[in-house]
């Protein structure tokens, strides 16, 4: 689940600028959402990596 959330956050990092490009989001909103998606990626990806253990 955590891994899925991590990948969803990463996809959001790519989807949010597209929404800005198509005019669905203003530039300041895009920047805020990109920061939020980035934070989510770090949280979930770190958790996913911690669960996977140091062996990999």
């Amino acid at each position: 689940m955590v891994r899925v959330l991590a990948w969803v956050s990463l996809l959001a990092c790519l989807g949010i600028p597209l929404a800005c490009f198509w005019g669905r989001l203003s530039l300041p909103t895009y920047k805020t959402l990109l920061a939020a998606a980035s934070l989510a990626w770090f949280v979930f990806a770190t958790l996913a990596m911690a669960r996977r253990g140091p062996g990999r």
């Binding site: 790519l14 600028p17 490009f21 980035s38 990596m49």
Partner: protein, 463 residues
């Protein structure tokens, strides 16, 4: 003197002892692990600078695309056909293999040179990170023509960041290395996100119908920024090829590919090259065009991606400076054998931090990358000659090892002669390495052929 050198060499060997044995088959890594590792390795802070510099150097869109595609293909071919075959046949690091060829003294020289070059590279990465923090606090960053720090505030910022990175490299190298694995897919995503977000500012319509036209006229328009040399297809192609020269042709990635089941794993370097050295460079080119070609990686990322963009520059510098500082520390440990690892990393960190205060290294990054590869390339050429050419010509391999020579003076002579040859070659810096490599191959083979021992002596020595 020879005794001191031998003692030093023995201590140096102790540091690398755990890598002395060839990699056993049960330690081989899967293709997936290789692809992941290589993909993460080539998205660094320097990508923010290199792609932007191509725009400033007036590269046209056609030259950029063909040059990057061909250059990266040649780099992948170099890993696959030059580095991986030697690594998978010997299963050794360059350290241990070149030690057999050049002797431990020459290997030590290579180590120290590499350590100094690593410090400069880490310094450039810290400088790039400093531009992000400076942009966040509204501090001015150095201009394109400023080789020395023009602002005390920026120099102090670079110094503080350098100290912080050094402390973190000493305290938590391994944890930070694991953190870098988390960062790499995100950094590539932020590169792409920032580039997409600034496209409307450059005039790209929402259906992408005029993307090519905008790219040709407003980004890679073939017009060099005043004071910058004009680059064409060949410069782009050669740069993409030699950007990691020390790793592929210079063979330092033998350390990595000795874990590959076969030489074809070299092809997986494409997983690092094409996202990092094609896509990321294109993205940073778009970003710099959006800020009117101002060479300020921090500002361009913040303008394009806000806090996330600035964080990407800072984290890219941090995660790539971390292993670089560690490797530099390891290299310096070879000349200060009684020092602990933290002390040598601290030494490397201090040198790096001082260098980071000088913007010359990141503002002349393309030239520095060329010089870095050029200085180490002769070692790769001599190893290649000894590994592949000597057996074909019936020349004895590993003479330095058999004779227990601390320094292979022929190899040292060829190394110096190759650098002198490259220095005086009347061609562009980016092109010098290729004739230099061929020169080193020919000169080392010829020197060994001329000084070959009679068969009886050679056989007696071998016993």
């Amino acid at each position: 003197m020879p005794t001191r050198l031998a003692t030093l060499a023995a201590k140096m060997d102790q540091l690398q002892e755990y890598e002395r044995e060839p990699v056993a088959p049960d330690k081989f890594q899967s293709a997936r692990q290789f692809a992941g590792l290589l993909a993460g390795e080539h998205v660094a802070a320097t990508e923010f600078v290199i792609g932007a510099f191509f725009v400033l150097h007036g590269v046209s869109l056609r030259d950029l695309l063909i040059g990057l595609f061909a250059g990266n293909l040649l780099a992948v071919a170099s890993w696959t056909l030059v580095c991986a075959p030697i690594a998978t046949r010997t299963r050794l690091t360059l350290y241990w293999y070149f030690r057999r060829i050049g002797g431990p003294g020459l290997m030590g020289l290579y180590n120290v040179l590499n350590g100094v070059l690593y410090c400069v590279l880490a310094g450039a990465m810290i400088s790039v990170s400093a531009t992000a923090v400076a942009a966040l606090f509204g501090l001015p960053s150095p201009g394109l023509d400023e080789l020395l720090p023009s602002s005390a505030a920026w120099a102090a910022l670079a110094f503080l960041i350098g100290i912080a990175f050094t402390v973190m490299a000493i305290l938590g190298f391994e944890k930070l290395s694991r953190f870098a694995v988390v960062c790499s897919p995100w950094m590539l995503a932020v590169f792409v996100a920032c580039a997409i977000a600034v496209l409307p500012q450059l005039g790209v319509r929402s259906d992408f119908s005029n993307l090519w036209e905008v790219a040709e006229t407003r980004i890679w328009n073939g017009q060099a920024t005043p004071g910058q040399e004009k680059f064409g297809l060949w410069q782009v192609m050669f740069f993409a090829w030699f950007c990691n020269l020390a790793m592929h042709i210079g063979l330092s990635d033998m350390a990595l590919f000795r874990f590959a089941p076969n030489w074809k794993y070299g092809l997986l370097s494409a997983c690092g090259m094409f996202p990092g050295h094609l896509l990321a460079w294109i993205c940073s080119g778009i970003m710099v065009a959006a800020i009117q070609r101002e060479m300020n990686p921090g500002l361009m990322a913040i303008e394009a991606g806000g806090i996330a963009g600035g964080a990407a520059v800072l984290i890219a510098g941090w995660t790539t400076a971390n292993p670089t500082l560690y490797r530099a520390g390891l290299a310096f440990q070879s000349i200060t054998p009684n020092w602990s690892r933290w002390k040598t990393t601290a030494l490397a960190g201090i040198v790096t931090t001082i260098l980071a205060c000088l913007p010359v290294f990141f503002l002349r990054l393309l030239d520095y990358v060329a010089i870095y590869g050029l200085l180490l390339m002769p070692v790769g050429a001599m190893v290649f000659a000894e590994h592949w050419i000597f057996p074909k010509l019936g020349l004895e391999q590993y003479r330095a090892e058999r004779r227990r020579e601390v320094v292979n003076w022929t190899a040292l002579g060829v190394w110096i002669a190759t650098l002198a040859f490259c220095y005086f070659l009347p061609i562009h810096l980016f092109f010098k390495w290729l004739p230099g490599y061929l020169f080193a191959l020919a000169a080392y083979t010829a020197a060994r052929a001329v000084t070959r021992e009679p068969a009886a002596v050679s056989a007696r020595g071998a016993r």
